[in-house]
């Protein structure tokens, strides 16, 4: 039991800090830029990302285990992963529509951003390359979602300053945000190295 927990925790920490989807792999940058611009959906989108990465990792662990020896698995991986993500997306949406109609009304406009984005899909590919046990897949999926939340929080916290008059007009918004993410990425990679 302790080993399972340790594996899960190690994989989660890997996903949050060392292999952070946004800072170390530049995945989901468009979603981060969107959430930094419109703060009202921030929590919902990131809860969605955590939910989808964790749940999808559980299923992809099984497909990786049973089909990875197949010659064409690498080429078909995006299709298989998208199929799994789609199934989880539609089933969750149906469940929310049935049991939490008020949440469905609010979330339906942006929930697809949480599911079909590069951070989720990229995290699944990275985990597939790393391999590991079921616990590490779940841990890494959870860690990726939390790491993405951390990136969103850091961007949200600085967005007022990044859009202030102190920044030259042409650099306000997306350009300065990318430079800011680059500086955080530099600091993180220096720290881990």
């Amino acid at each position: 039991m302790e080993t399972v927990f340790t594996r899960m925790l190690t994989a989660a920490l890997l996903g949050i800090f060392i292999e952070n989807a946004a800072f170390e792999h530049a995945l989901g940058v468009n979603v981060l830029l969107y959430t930094a611009r419109r703060k009202e959906n921030l929590v919902g989108i990131f809860i969605g990302v955590i939910y989808v990465t964790t749940l999808t990792s559980m299923v992809t662990c099984l497909t990786d285990r049973y089909f990875s020896a197949w010659e064409y698995y690498n080429i078909l991986m995006p299709f298989i992963y998208i199929f799994i993500m789609s199934a989880i997306y539609l089933l969750t949406l149906l469940a929310v529509w049935r049991f939490l109609p008020s949440l469905f009304k609010k979330a339906k406009r942006y929930v697809h951003l949480s599911v079909f984005n590069c951070a989720v899909l990229g995290a699944l590919f990275i985990q597939s390359n790393i391999g590991g046990t079921f616990a590490s897949y779940v841990g890494y999926g959870l860690g990726t979602g939390l790491g993405f939340l951390l990136a969103g929080y850091l961007l949200g916290a600085a967005s007022d300053r990044l859009n202030s008059d102190a920044v030259p007009a042409s650099f306000r918004g997306m350009p300065i945000t990318l430079i800011y993410v680059g500086v955080i990425s530099l600091a993180l990679s220096a720290f881990w190295n």
Binding site: L93, N117, T177
Partner: protein, 210 residues
């Protein structure tokens, strides 16, 4: 004037709404994969084919279907299109380069041009205009990707593919992820500055604001 009534212009996607340098819509793969010219060419090739064919095929999906179902079908079509495209890419580009950027090639199936721009822009136009618009956007991405890849190639190794470029300095960190973020951020800011300077509409608006 609504999007559907306006004629599609190639320059919209290439310059004004460039998916990497102006809107940042798909900047991540450029930052992660375009560490050299060869990688940038491979990424542009896959991105262009996947996007153009997927947008064309997604047009067949009836508009009456629920939004959630349409999005799912767009993603599934893009990932199905990816299969022949990657097989073709493997015939053209060296395996070593493709292995290096495998992750970024695969995530082109979840690109926002297919998953969001189709609904908000491409499908609001007649089919020929839609293709013209989509080609403009992919050319814009290709331009940005190849530009970033070339600059990083030159700054990292003083080489452009196999050509030696004589510079008195090297910046090896440009090949790293943070180098990509900073370079794309600077290029985006410069592009916006140039665009604001020479665009008559923006220039006028700017003067009025001042």
């Amino acid at each position: 004037m609504s999007v559907s009534k306006r004629k599609a212009r190639l320059s919209d996607g290439i310059v004004r709404q460039n998916a990497v340098l102006m809107s940042g819509l798909f900047a991540g793969p450029v930052i992660g994969a375009a560490t050299g010219l060869l990688n940038a060419l491979a990424l542009s090739f896959v991105f262009t084919l996947v996007t153009i064919f997927s947008v064309g095929l997604c047009r067949i999906i009836p508009k009456g279907a629920a939004f959630a179902v349409r999005i799912v079908l767009y993603a599934l079509i893009a990932s199905a299109v990816y299969v022949p495209v990657i097989m073709l890419t493997q015939l053209i580009f060296p395996e070593e380069a493709l292995n290096e950027i495998q992750l970024y090639l695969a995530i082109t199936v979840a690109n926002p041009l297919i998953l969001s721009k189709t609904e908000s822009r491409f499908f609001l136009r007649p089919v020929p205009q839609m293709f013209k618009d989509a080609i403009g956007f992919t050319l814009g991405f290709d331009f940005a990707c190849i530009l970033v890849g070339s600059i990083r190639d030159i700054l990292t190794d003083n080489m452009l593919w196999n050509l030696r470029v004589n510079l008195p300095f090297q910046i090896p960190s440009m090949g790293k992820m943070f180098g990509g973020f900073i370079l794309v951020g600077i290029l985006a800011g410069l592009c916006r500055a140039v665009f604001n300077r020479f665009s008559p509409r923006r220039g006028k608006a700017g003067k009025e604001r001042a």
